[in-house]
Amino acid sequence: MADFSFPYFYNYPPYFTLQPVRDTREKQVELWKQLILKYCKHHKYFVVDLEEGDFPLFANANIDRKLTYEAREVFLGALVSEGKAEWMDKGHRRCLILWRRIQDWAELLLSFVRENGMEDSVMTLEEIMSGDETRGSELAGIDRGVLIRGIKILEQKGKAAMFKGQATDDDGVKFSAH
């Protein structure tokens, strides 16, 4: 995977402080929103923990600055307002980043199934998330929750059916994706 290149503002200290002036703040929020999405997409991160030290993007050792909890909440909140993220708890301590929409994940899964002639086959969720079949594809590393929601969309279209296995590891999906 290519190295992630950080935009200029990431190394400019004031951007790590929530700006009080409205216009400056708007610009700042916009920059951070885009950075968070890009960063998560690059590393295939889905869940961001707002607690101190957990998400590497929020601290830049090069300039010795890190975002306060308030700042993190503001930036992620802005993504949530835009539908590009979801709070996973009422306390706003964990956030699901939808750098790809659920419906687009569903499409991706469907395409994968068709391209690999798996229209009538069965796969476990584990296999999709981290198995040999999907290695190197966009699906590899997908978040389990996101995958399930994507499959549900396909279910509604009659293209797939989820089933429960003996153990969680065996939970899977049968495709009928013709």
Binding site: P7, Y8, F9, N11, Y12, P13, P14, Y15, F16, T17, Q19, P20, V21, D23, T24, K27, D64, R65, K66
Partner: protein
């Protein structure tokens, strides 16, 4: 002429003065006529020169600057109007007009980042990148001329000096002396603290904070509360180091609006 006492002596002196005066006036008139003639000849030669070297003027900044200087000496302003002999012959009006439009463009695009103050060198760098297609290099002189034309259109365009740099202002807000002094101080590290300003400029408490808060409200400064020492720093994107500045501005220009 021997001075002779008495009334006739006075009359002679007066008559002499008169003669000298009219001679003086004649000489002055002759000199003026001669000068007018020389100027007219010079103008013609300048036009001839411009015609012959049209391409050089367009392509070489040094040549262009010299040409402007020659024009100024004989009272010709090639940019005075977009119509007329000079503009038509050289298309120079177009050149500066185009440059002016590009400058406005860049200033507007970078305003969210720097609050409407852009370092002249940075502007030049960005213009050079924009104009890569045409091979006419842009000098500081060209920028200054284009900005002065913009100034006459209103909208607050102005070039002013802070410390050792020139800044292009594209917003109507003028900086007062307090602000200028702070900007100059900020050039050293890219930021200042309240204490630093009070110490270096020997201001009473409150004055520094007021000025800094003002600059922040105008969008020229950003606050930084993240330093381990706990002191609030006011950063000035418009006087940051050239490297990060250009990178920042380029990034602003290339991001979708």
């Amino acid at each position: 002429m021997r001075r002779r006492p008495g009334i006739s002596g006075l009359q002679t002196a007066a008559a002499a003065r008169d003669q000298y005066r009219s001679l003086g006036e004649n000489v002055a008139k002759i000199r003026t006529d001669l000068m007018k003639e020389q100027l007219a000849t010079f103008r013609n030669q300048l036009e001839e020169f411009a015609r012959k070297h049209k391409n050089d003027i367009k392509k070489s900044p040094a040549f262009r600057a010299q040409f402007h200087s020659m024009c100024a000496k004989c009272g010709v302003d090639p940019l005075a109007s977009n119509k007329g002999f000079w503009a038509e012959l050289l298309g120079i009006g177009d050149f500066y007009y185009e440059l002016g439009v590009q400058i406005v463009d860049i200033c507007l695009a970078t305003r969210p980042h720097n609050g409407g103050l852009l370092d002249l060198e940075e502007l030049r760098g960005l213009l050079a990148k924009r104009r890569r297609a045409s091979r006419e290099p842009i000098t500081e002189d060209d920028c200054l001329r284009a900005v002065s034309k913009l100034k006459s259109l209103g909208g607050g365009f102005e070039v002013f000096t802070v410390g050792h740099r020139k800044l292009v202002r594209s917003v109507p807000t003028e900086l007062n002396r307090d602000h200028n002094l702070i900007l100059e101080l900020a050039q050293v590290h890219g930021y200042v603290t309240v204490q630093e300003v009070e110490k270096e400029l020997t201001w009473k408490a409150g004055r520094a904070l007021d000025a800094l808060e003002n600059l922040m409200r105008e969008g020229l400064a950003m606050v930084d509360d993240g330093h381990p020492d706990g002191k609030r720093r006011y950063w000035f994107p418009c006087v940051g180091s050239a490297a990060t500045g250009t990178e920042a501005v380029e990034s602003v220009l290339s991001s979708p609006n």
